[in-house]
């Protein structure tokens, strides 16, 4: 693949991130867009696991919760500086993924789904029940991040930070996909047995991408906690995990731009539908079903296929 083509998705995302604020007229716009970038970061990571390695995780919000509670609990109760807390949270998520990854990733299909689901529930239960540290179901305030002596609170600043994190995440994801590990992952996705036969260390390749996706989720979780200045156990909950998986599939498995589109659609829909409060779930469910029935490969891959067919 040509270099330009390879990095095209990253360029598209970066361009949107840089140009979009020109059309914003209120802090609300910045807030919603920032939520999209944060979700997109986690979704890009999960898409590496689902779209490239073909492994599903129904507990990824657990890693997000770890990142979020690290920047909330460590500075509040132990006086750890926010940035160090962030690093600790992200490293912890990676380490946990590394330790549980081997036994869990041996499981296949729906069994893998239920095992990751269980892990996510365990994380959620800890955040919910260790109320002395986490504030329990009511959640807790997150101390503001301080960079170079200034406290970061303006949503515009968070827009640039979250967007930069997402673009960087996309760039690293593209590089990973085109690395030897990435090729190994695609081989595993197509046929695990065939990959094994040609000498791919299947267990190692899966583990690598699992750890990476956990780190993405933890960073996204920490960003979300900082910009909302508040965190509660729902961030690690089952519904949030399902939401991430849905974003991946809706946007398109294995598509970086698709990850951002999926995150954008599922973040924007509830915002657009707040006026119809009672009908919100009804409409979201209906849209989700319709899109998946008629664009079964996800939004971006289906559209690309259509454009290519037009072109030829």
């Amino acid at each position: 693949m040509k270099l330009a083509q390879r990095y095209l998705p990253v360029l598209i995302i970066a361009a949107i991130w840089l140009v979009l604020p020109l059309f914003f007229s209120s802090g609300y716009h910045f807030r919603v867009a920032t939520l999209v970038w944060t979700a997109a970061l986690a979704v890009i990571g999960l898409n590496l696991l689902m779209g490239f390695a073909g492994q599903v995780s129904l507990g990824h919000a657990g890693f997000g919760g770890l990142g979020a509670y690290a920047v909330a609990v460590l500075p509040t109760h132990f006086g750890v500086p926010p940035l160090l807390a962030f690093a600790i949270g992200v490293v912890a998520a990676g380490l946990i993924a590394f330790v549980i990854g081997r036994p869990i990733l041996k499981l296949k299909g729906h069994y893998l789904a239920v095992a990751t689901l269980g892990m996510g529930i365990l994380a959620y239960m800890v955040f919910l029940n260790e109320a002395r540290l986490t504030g329990g179901p009511d959640g807790m305030a997150v101390p503001r991040l301080e960079l170079f002596g200034t406290r970061i609170r303006a949503i515009e600043t968070w827009y640039w930070i979250a967007g930069a994190a997402m673009v960087l995440g996309a760039l690293l994801a593209v590089n990973l996909v085109n690395s030897p590990t990435g090729r190994a992952l695609r081989a595993i996705h197509d046929s695990e047995v065939a990959a094994k036969v040609v000498g791919v260390d299947v267990a190692r390749a899966k583990l690598v991408v699992f750890v990476i996706s956990a780190i993405y989720a933890a960073i996204a979780g920490a960003l979300l906690a900082w910009l909302s200045a508040f965190v509660n156990p729902d961030i690690a909950g089952f519904l949030h995990s399902i939401e991430l998986v849905t974003m991946v599939v809706l946007g398109g498995m294995g598509s970086i731009v698709g990850s951002v589109v999926g995150a954008a659609v599922l973040t924007l829909l509830p915002q657009l539908l707040t006026a119809f409060a009672d009908y919100k779930h009804l409409v979201i469910g209906l849209i989700l079903m319709t899109v998946m029935i008629f664009m079964r490969d996800g939004i971006v891959p289906t559209l690309l296929k259509l454009i290519r067919r037009r072109g030829s």
Partner: protein, 290 residues
């Protein structure tokens, strides 16, 4: 001893509901390979529809029957309008469609019914039955009895009737079933209707004990799915055993350890089992053909 019996009955009661949800997962999965995440909404619809038909003036038995009919219709429509058009899509796409359906049904219940908690009167009074020093709600016996009737009825249906045997054949090998003249798409529709009916019955039996609301289905689907996986996906006996085990684990850990971590204990055991037996307790290892 009294304490033990008390916890055991609580566990069996909720376990029976998980078993019925897991059975619903299994029936649809066997007939169509779809993991139906709106299974919990069938349970919710069973409970909520009975409540509201009752509020609109129908006597309880009629309301219960009406709720089962309504839920079956919803199950058949789900198959016809959402699953059938997506035939041939990947497993994960189908799962997302059923998740969409589950959000949709929750939204529908919120609009047609309401967002409050509701309960049904117990079917035969609230006077506890004394047994070995423990007091047992009569409704628990309704739940357990209902589960036993459904499981035996299902067993007889699968082994004694032609349609039931067609269902089993479709589960075993869809292509072979087609070749011997079984209309597998009718069988798939049947499996959705059957799962919906089982879910609805579970819902109206348990509502007098646990209450219900438009979003009561999520947690039940989660536990039912875990129970089905614990038993071994696709194995009906495994689903029932898995459900009972999860229910008992929950009740005993809530009673003897801590109620705030009861959900965690069930999942820790499931993880431990899967690490030892990666295909569940009763699942057969799938041989992948290359």
């Amino acid at each position: 001893m009294a304490e033990f019996v008390q916890f055991a009955f609580a566990g069996l009661t909720i376990g029976a509901v998980y078993a019925l949800v897991a059975l619903g997962f299994t029936i649809i999965y066997n007939a169509s390979d779809v993991v139906n995440f709106s299974q919990g909404e069938f349970v919710m619809l069973g409970g909520m529809t009975t409540v509201f038909l009752g509020l609109w003036g129908l006597p309880l038995p009629v309301a219960a029957l009406g709720a089962i009919v309504v839920t079956v219709v919803v199950g058949l429509l789900l198959h016809r309008l959402a699953i059938e058009p997506a035939r041939g899509a990947s497993a994960v796409t189908l799962i997302i469609i059923t998740i969409g359906a589950s959000i949709f049904l929750r939204g529908l219940a919120q609009v047609v019914y309401d967002k409050q908690f509701h309960r049904l009167p117990s079917f035969s009074g609230d006077d506890p039955i004394r047994l070995l020093g423990a007091s047992i709600l009569p409704q628990s016996l309704w739940v357990l009895g209902g589960a036993v009737v459904i499981v035996t009825g299902l067993w007889a249906f699968m082994n004694r009737t032609l349609i039931g045997k067609a269902l089993v054949a479709t589960a075993a090998n869809r292509l072979a079933a087609k070749l011997v003249g079984i209309d597998t798409s009718i069988i798939m529709a049947l499996s959705f209707g059957l799962s919906a009916a089982i879910g609805a019955i579970a819902g109206l039996l348990i509502t007098p004990i646990t209450l219900t609301s438009y979003d009561a289905g999520t947690m039940l689907a989660l536990k039912g799915f875990a129970a089905a996986m614990l038993g071994g996906m696709g194995n009906p006996i495994g689903a029932v055993v898995g459900g009972i085990v999860v229910g008992l684990l929950e009740a005993f850990s809530a009673g003897y350890i801590s109620s705030s971590y009861k959900d965690a204990v069930a999942f820790i055991v499931i993880l431990a089992v899967l690490f030892v037996a990666p295909n569940g307790l009763f699942g057969r290892a799938k041989v992948e053909r290359v």
